[in-house]
């Protein structure tokens, strides 16, 4: 049992306005933890925030186009505070996606994003509660979580396993469910819709321990 995580007092969370429809839900989840999230596309606000969350539902090409349009690709590169990508936002952290005929992504984490393979009887989109398998139990983002717990996923593309992989899930193929490298973190599932499992992951992200080397 690890100690309960508390958000950094007064932590300012910038929620990058990437145009997805899950933004209100992510903001509500942050508020339920006692912090405040402001929805923003303002570079100064993002650069001065204590935490940055990149949400996102939709397609990779549209997500990248929106970040470029807002001039946020460079801004996200310069952010020194911890960054958390959620769902598509997590996928955007990688190098390349085969979605939409091939899209170059932010490239903050090594690895590629692929479509869930077609397997008879395997439903795509992968939609629902699936099991987490923790590979790096010491990662601060996974404090208090354990293998066998379920989180809520909705997606058709997956990030391959790689050095940034902290936890995996299997749906036809084993893929990265939680990733991170010290500054940049991500969850393929929706923590804002994953009940206590998701709340714990978000609390970990808001906690000072996220910046400590495991």
């Amino acid at each position: 049992m690890s100690t309960p995580q508390r958000p950094e007092p007064g932590a300012r969370v910038a929620l990058v306005d990437s145009g997805g429809t899950n933004i209100a839900s992510v903001a509500h989840a942050i508020e339920r933890l006692g912090s405040h999230a402001s929805l923003t596309a303002d570079p100064d606000e993002i650069l001065s925030a204590d935490r940055v969350i990149l949400p996102g539902v939709g397609a990779a090409a549209a997500g990248m186009a929106r970040l470029r349009e807002l001039g946020l690709v460079e801004v996200l590169r310069e952010v020194t505070a911890p960054v958390l990508g959620v769902c598509l936002g997590m996928q955007l952290l990688f190098e390349h996606s085969e979605e939409d005929g091939g899209v170059d992504l932010l490239g903050f984490l090594p690895g590629r994003v692929r479509r869930i393979p077609a397997v008879p009887g395997l439903r795509v989109p992968h939609m629902g509660w699936n099991i987490l398998d923790l590979h790096r139990t010491q990662a601060p983002l996974l404090a208090g979580l354990s293998s066998g717990q379920r989180a809520y996923f909705v997606h058709s593309y997956v990030a391959e396993l790689g050095e940034a992989t902290l936890a995996t899930t299997t749906h036809g193929v084993e893929f990265s469910a939680v990733v991170g490298d010290g500054r940049v973190w991500g969850a393929q599932f929706h923590p804002e819709k994953s009940a206590d499992v998701g709340a714990r992951l978000l609390a970990n992200f808001l906690s000072p321990s996220i910046q400590e080397t495991p």
């Binding site: 539902v57 397997v119 299997t170």
Partner: protein, 271 residues
């Protein structure tokens, strides 16, 4: 049918709540509605019991010719940390956008899709197929063929269509439905079990998640529908509202029967 060995995705249990003026109501045929309580209180109760997802059906939106009431969608979204779907009165991309931006995860369309099938494509293109649920009200005709119905919210207005249920399910998938809720009207309200024959037939041609609706009366009915019809989720209302089927007990039984389910009380999350 066996579960896919390459995924341990949980079969979902989905209580459906009928909403009128921000309250959850119970009743039939738009008459004698009984107030069941505040929408947020009931949503919170089901979440605590281990529901995987909730459906809120704004029962007067469509008859009143309006979209769903955004005020309660926002209230639910602030509190609820599991996914939820809003049904009733979604007739355009604009109404869907309002509901999704207010914090709903999915919108469900039923009669409007039968009137204007392109709506399904418009929603899928604007928000992604994962947000688009198509509700299908289906009944077996005297010739033995399942066909769809529209305007089922009002028995006096319900209309039978020519299109067969199997053709319609195929068509809405091609148009962009990300999930199908098959409401088997012949078993609805009877509590004698889900329509396994019809659900199995639809399963054969349904490549997106399929939700069984109509007929749940006992815990064993849920075991049967997951085992026999290989559906991805089971939806019910009255058996959950009355407490006749407690969700915790239901999931324990499903797990015992070898069906993958989420049991948050067994997962031991450290808060």
């Amino acid at each position: 049918m066996t579960a896919n060995p390459t995924s341990r995705l949980a079969k979902r249990i989905i209580p459906c709540l009928d909403v009128q003026d921000g309250r959850v109501v119970k009743g039939t045929q738009f008459r004698n509605h009984v107030d069941m309580g505040d929408i947020v209180d009931l949503a919170t109760r089901y979440r605590a019991e281990g529901a995987d997802e909730l459906v809120f059906y704004d029962i007067t939106a469509s008859p009143d010719g309006r979209g769903p009431d955004i005020e309660w969608v926002r209230r639910v979204a602030r509190t609820l940390d599991i996914p939820f779907c809003v049904a009733g009165g979604i007739t355009s991309g604009e109404t869907a956008r309002e509901v999704l931006h207010a914090g709903a995860d999915k919108v469900s369309v039923n009669t409007p899709a039968t009137q204007r099938p392109e709506l399904v494509t418009e929603l899928a293109e604007a928000f992604g197929v994962q947000c688009v649920v198509v509700g299908v009200d289906s009944l077996r005709d005297p010739d033995g063929i399942w066909r769809i119905r529209q305007f089922t919210g009002r028995p006096d207005a319900t209309k039978a269509l020519e299109v067969t249920t199997l053709d319609w399910v195929q068509r809405v998938q091609d148009l962009g439905a990300g999930e199908i809720v098959l409401n088997c009207m012949g078993s609805d309200g009877v509590r004698a079990g889900y329509d396994l024959e019809q659900l199995s037939a639809v399963r054969e041609i349904c490549r997106v998640p399929l939700v069984a609706s109509g007929g749940a009366g006992e815990i064993e009915h849920f075991v049967d529908v997951f085992r026999e019809a290989d559906v991805d989720a089971a939806l019910a209302a009255s058996v959950f509202h009355s407490g006749h089927v407690p969700i915790g007990q239901l999931k324990d039984r499903l797990a015992e029967a070898g069906i993958e389910v989420r049991r948050p009380d067994h997962e031991g999350v450290t808060k």
